[in-house]
Structure formats: C-alpha cells, structure tokens
Amino acid sequence: MRTLQNTFFISLLVITGLFAEKPMKFVDTGINPSTWALVPAGEFYFGQHQHVVDIDYDYEIMITDVTNRQYANYLNEALEKGTVYIKRDTVWGYHPGDPFDAYLHEYEIPAGDYPHVPITNPGLRLDYEGGMFNPKTGYGNHPMVEVSWFGAKAYADFYDYRLPTEKEWEKSARGTTTDDYPWGNTVQRNQANFVSSHNLFEKMFGDVVKTTPVGFYNGKNYDGYQTMEGITPYGLYDMAGNVYQWTGDDHPKVHYRYMRGGSYQSYEYSLRVWPRNSAGPEHTSMSLGFRCARTPVQMEIAPTDTSE
C-alpha cells in the first residue's frame, strides 16, 4: 500500500513538473496599449450571413486588449477611491442589475455587489501584496485575464469608457469588407495566437503561458521568430486569437454576455470575425479579457505605456 502511495505521489510530482510554468521574461512588442483607433460611422457586413448593418456614429476603440499593467493600475486607483473592495480573496463591485422579463429559465441578475477578479486564482497574472496590485514578472503587457464582465465594465466605467457592443466589436474587426478574418480569408500560424499556432512564445515559456503580449503579431522579428501583421482595417491588434473579449450588450431573457475573437484555446474557425462565445457575467477565464470603446474625444495618442 505504501509503495502504491509513493508511486502515486512521485507520478503526481513528475506530471506537475512536466506542466509547471517556466519563468517569464518581458517581451517588448513596441505597441502602445493606450492607443485608440477611430471607427467612422457607416454600414458594414455583420455576422456569418453578412447582413448589412449601419452604425450611424463614430466611435473609438482600443487597439489592444487591456493589459495586466493597465488593470493593475486601475485596481489600485479604484481601491483607493472605494469603487471596488476586497472580500474573501476576490475583488467586488456594484452592478445596478439587469432588466428581468421572467422568461422561461431566465436567470435574474438583481442590483448588488458582484465578483470582479478572483485574486488567488492561479490563472490571474497579477500579484496582490501590501495592498497593491502589480503584474506578475513578464506579464505586464499581456492581456488582463480572469476578469468577469462586471470587472471589465467597472474598468470601462471608471475611465468613462464603455465595453463595445457586439456590432461595434465586429465592425472594428472586419471593417467594411466581407472577409472571414480581420486581414483576409486565411490565417497563418505566425499571424495570430490560436490552438495550433504553436507560437514561439509558448515554446519559450512553457505550455501554461499561452497568452502572447498584446500586439505581438505586428510583423516584428523576435529573436529569429518572424511574425506576420495581424491587424484589422482600422489598425487593431489581437481581434482574432490570444484571448476572447467581453462585449457590452446584455442579452435579454438569458443575460449571457457575448465574447468574441477566439483565443489561444480556439481552432482557427473560431477566430473568424462572427462566431460567438458566451457566458454568465460572473464568469472568468485565463483565455478571456476585454478592450474598451468610447465616444471620440480627440485623436490624440496617449502617453506611451509599454512598460512592464
């Protein structure tokens, strides 16, 4: 019996060791995540069946996902201002509730406090020490993950931004073309982070580190690994692959929130511009982040923030 126990624990150690995370180092992509792109008003092709839809206003959208550094900065500010608080190893905040239609199996989301970020979740790339949040080493410019829809919306609200609607998101990804992917009709392995891309980053830092820094696929050569430019017609990065992104709409009767863009766990067909993924607004995942949209202010580039 003891031999059996020993064998089990040794096997567990070996397996854990095989899949253990290797140390990370910061990789500078040269892309500034504080940059916004302008998407002009007008019609575009929406969804799998390419229905013509009009968005009759201009809007701006972040060219990358919100990074761990940006979210850590936000949390520190929000904690100080008291818009969020920490309880039971989780960041919480208030949500005014969703309209309720009493539809069959409808899940009610009343006004109240909801979880934003699970602090002790090992997938979270933030450390919380001494009352301050900081990105884990090397993860500053990776997309913020393990954040619920409530947490994403709270970030957007804090800076007077908003989460993009599904239609805004898709127009930002597709432009006015009928292409399947943000840049055309095919995807190459060095153009986006998806399940079979086997990107160099994954090979360098282990199987568990699966996100790539925002804007990684920009045509740059990283120590011999040549990437292709994976950008949308409006100059956005990571709209196909890397991490799914929350969108802002509340879908009546179900209250699922839709997630777009595919992730490092997705096959390439989920990286097309129209497939939907969805989850309850409290859901968090290592492969789920977000970016924000806003009403155009002025086309100014924010101070460069590519630091770790």
Partner: protein, 525 residues
C-alpha cells in the same frame, strides 16, 4: 497476327474478365451482404479521409497536406455548409445499410426488396458523390442539384419501404407464438419497424421543408451555434428537431435489427415491441412539436423512457441468451455464477452491441440527464464553448456507438470466427469505449479541474480519443483489405455470399396462404 484480329485465348480471357465483373457487380448491387459491405466501405473511406481535416490533424499539418493532395476548395465562410453536407452524406449511407438489413430480415415480396434496395443504392451513391463534390471541391448548381436528387431517391425508397412494411395485411402473419403479435396474428415487430419508418419519413420532411426555404427566410447554421439564443425561428426549431429525431430513429432501427439478429422472442419481446412502438411514436411526436410548443421536452422524455426500456429488455434477453447458449454448448446443466459470467463474455461480437447500449448510458444518456438536472449550475457557469463541446460530443458518441454496433453485426454477417472474431470484438469494444470515455471526461472536465490545471487532462483525453478511434479505423482497414483481396479469388467469400445473399436469421412472420394467393393473382394479371 494483325492488330485487329483477336486470338481465341484473348477472347476467352476477355469473357472471363467480363463474367468476373458481372459477378462482382451482382454481388455488390444485388446481394444484401454485398450492399452492406459497399456501404461500410464507403463510410470507412470517407471517415478516414475527412477525419484528417479536423482536430489534431490540423495541428500536425495533415489537413493541409490532404487538402493540397485532393485539390479541395475549403472556404472558411462555407464551413457550416460543408459540415452539413458531410454528415448528411454519412447519415444517408448509414440509413441505407439499415434499410438493406430491414429488407432482408422483415419478410416482404422479392420485387419490393429489389425496388427498395436499388432505389436507395442509387440515392446514396448520388448523394455521396455530389454532396461531397459540392461541399469540398467547388460549388455549382449541377452538384447541388444531384445531391438533392440523391436524397429524393432515398426518400422515395423510404416510401417504398413503408409500403412493404405495412403490417395490417394478412400476407405475412406470426406463426411462432413466441414472437410478439396481435390476436389476429399481426406481427408487432413489423409494426415497430413500420412506425419507425413512417416517423423517419415525416422527420425527414422537417429538414426538407426547411431546406426549401434556404435563402428565403432560412440561413445555414449549425445547431450548436444557437444553443443560447432564447427565441429561435420556427425553421431553426424544425432543423434542431430534425437532426435529433433522425439520429434517434437510426438508433431505434439498429436496436430492432440487432434484436432480430439475436432472435429476440418470448415474454420480453412481447413487452418490448409495444413499448418500442409507443415510445417511438411519442418521442417523434414530441420532437416535431418542438416547433410549436415549449412542452415538447416533456413528450420527448416520456418517449425516451419507453424506447430505452424496450432496449433494456433486449439487453437482458440477449445476455441471458448468450449465457444460456454458451453453457449449453459446454454441456453445463447447472452452471455456477462464475461459469455464467465467463459464458457471457465468450463471444464479444454478440456481447458487444448490447454492452455498447449499456455503456451509452454513461457517455450519452447519463450525461444528458445530468446536464438537464444541473442546468443552472453548469450552463449558467460554463462558457458556451464548453457547453458546445459537451453537446457535440454527446451526439458524436451516440453516432459512433451505432457505427460500432453495425460493425460488430457485419463481422458476424461476414462469418468471421475463432480467435480473429474475439480479437476484432474486444478491440472494437475496448477501443471505442476508451475513446468515448475520454471524450466524456474531456467534455465534462470543468466539473473537476480548473482551467489552469487542465492541460494534462486535455492532452491525455485527446490522446486516448485518437488512440481508441484510430485503432478501430486500422481494424476496419484490415477487414476491408481482407475483403478486397477476397474479391480476386474466384471462389472467395464474396461468391458464397452471392449465392446466399440474405441475412441468416429467424424471421418473426411467415408467408400465409392469403399472401400466396395474392402473389398468384398478381402473376395471372
């Protein structure tokens, strides 16, 4: 010798070749055993080639190689349509195989059998060639038109089958009272086949009607992409009902078929047949009603209970029969529990189909019921992608279980005996159950492992799935190579099967004097 004069020996060898071609043609298109072999071969080839276009084959670069080699035209935007064409093609061949089996085991007039088999054979071959051509090798109206012609022929064959199965005619009545029958001697198993066939025709209509609205209110979609849409259109509901009920009825059909293979009779047969008839009718009606009412699932649950209860009675009967037959063969008058246990596993080819029906409860029905009970705890928490994996895994497993049952029956039809029979039987059971078990663990992983720690679970279950299904494909490949080699032999198995083309089993009803008189009268006309 001049070029335009043939020698006597050349003429003789030419005649021999023509005769061989004619004999092979006769075997493949006129004998039930040949037709089944043709269907299984086609599905195997399609599965082997098209299986290289997805899953880990993409990661390994195999997909790109196959696409280049065969000159496929895979537009990303057309993926949903392609998949729909592919599983219609496979489903049509499976349906045809079941029809070949039904026309052989349910007594009917010879010309009825020939008409049904010929029509459905032309139908599935046309559907397969032009369906795959349209989906994977470039679009044109000609391909799509012929795909629809093929499906129409299959539907027409279904009408002919339904007419041939019509149970309230005194031409075929039950003589052996051990088989389920009415007071007048009408065959209840025949009625169960009849109800299944009628239900399938109506259910096919739900797909066909929706298809006719294509681009005129209906757009191509995969059902799994609509799971979280609260308000679906009537056409979307019709398609969702269609795909569920067609697979269910294919499962009902194979259950009835293997029941006949095992010579299902006695008390259990008399309970099972009415139960199956009622269950089939209720479940079909329930699925059709999904277009109009939220109550549909209640009918479906009730019908499912009856269908599954009938299948349970078949499992009990079959395992009892296996034990009884084997212990009698060994001359054991009062076998111990251990001897009975060993007897049960003696013939994996006959044990397997019914084990697969039991195993299905752990990987398909059980998972489905668990999901339904835990609806709020699972689907409110899991992302749609995880739910989608579970749902698609659920029906892929059910389809594959049906395929393994057909395969095991075919191994018996082909007369494979001895050690080879045992090897094949156990390989199919163990290989498929490893794959289905792994697929179930993979799809349910979120219940017991967090995303951060899931990589080993994902890797190992994927490996187990590929191993389990891969080993079965290799095995099927081996059987087909053996059958191919056999075709070159002048007195091979194929010629014996040509001489004895029908399935060798006990039939529930027999031709009556009324039937003989009807045939005689028909001949006089």
């Amino acid at each position: 010798m001049t070029a335009d004069v043939l020698t006597k020996s050349q003429l003789i060898s030419g005649n021999i070749i023509m005769k061989k071609i004619k004999d092979l043609f006769h075997f493949f298109f006129q004998s039930t055993k040949g037709l089944i072999l043709l269907g299984i071969t086609s599905i195997s080839v399609i599965t082997a080639v098209w299986g290289m276009l997805s899953g880990p084959m993409v990661e390994w670069g195999v997909r790109d190689f196959v696409v280049d080699l065969l000159g496929m035209d895979l537009q990303s935007v057309e993926r949903s349509g392609r998949i729909i064409m592919l599983y219609h093609v496979i489903a049509m061949i499976v349906t045809a195989i079941e029809v070949y089996m039904i026309t052989s085991i349910v007594p009917m007039r010879r010309h009825q059998r020939a008409n049904i088999n010929n029509t459905i054979t032309v139908g599935w071959i046309t559907t397969t060639i032009f369906g795959l051509a349209f989906g994977y090798f470039g679009h044109n109206y000609f391909y799509h038109g012929l795909f629809l012609v093929g499906q129409s022929l299959i539907f027409f064959a279904g009408l002919l089958l339904t007419a041939a199965l019509y149970p309230w005619r005194k031409h075929f009545l039950v003589e052996d009272k051990e088989y389920a029958h009415t007071k007048s001697g009408y065959d209840l198993e025949r009625m169960a086949f009849f109800i299944m066939a009628v239900s399938m025709l109506i259910s096919a209509g739900f797909g066909a009607v929706t298809g006719s609205f294509w681009s005129n209110g209906h757009e191509t979609f995969l059902a799994e992409d609509l799971i979280r849409v609260p308000d679906k259109t009537a056409l979307q509901k019709a398609v969702i009902g269609h795909l569920h009920i067609m697979l269910t009825l294919i499962a009902v059909a194979i259950t009835l078929i293997v029941g006949r293979w095992m010579d299902f009779k006695g008390k259990l047969h008399k309970i099972a047949m009415p139960t199956m008839m009622f269950g089939t009718a209720v479940i079909s009606g329930g699925v059709w009603s999904v277009v109009w009412t939220h109550m549909a699932h209640t009918f479906i649950y009730v019908g499912s209970v009856f269908v599954m209860f009938a299948a349970l009675l078949l499992v009990i009967y079959s395992w009892g029969k296996l034990i009884k037959d084997r212990t009698a063969e060994l001359g054991l008058e009062n076998p111990t529990f251990g001897q009975k246990f060993i007897a049960l596993f003696h013939d994996p080819i006959k044990f397997g189909p019914f084990w697969q029906m039991v195993f299905m409860n752990f990987t398909v029905s059980g998972v489905g019921i668990f999901m339904a009970i835990k609806l709020e705890q699972i689907f409110r928490v899991w992302p749609a992608r995880e739910e989608r994996i579970t749902l698609t895994g659920h029906w892929h497993i059910l389809s594959a279980i049906i395929a393994t049952i057909i395969l095991m029956y075919y191994i018996d039809i082909a007369g494979i005996k001895g050690k080879m029979r045992k090897w094949l039987g156990w390989t199919i059971i163990i290989g498929s159950d490893i794959a289905f078990g792994a697929a179930t663990i993979f799809s349910m992983k979120r219940l017991f492992v967090t995303e951060y720690y899931q990589t080993p679970v994902v890797n190992w279950t994927m490996l187990a799935m590929d191993f389990g299904l891969g080993i079965i494909l290799v095995l099927v490949g081996g059987i087909l190579i053996w059958r191919l080699k056999d075709l070159f032999s002048s007195d091979g198995l194929w010629s014996k099967e040509s001489a004895s083309p029908e399935l060798d089993l006990e039939r529930t009803s027999v031709l009556t004097q009324a039937g003989r008189d009807a045939i005689k009268k028909e001949m006089e006309i």
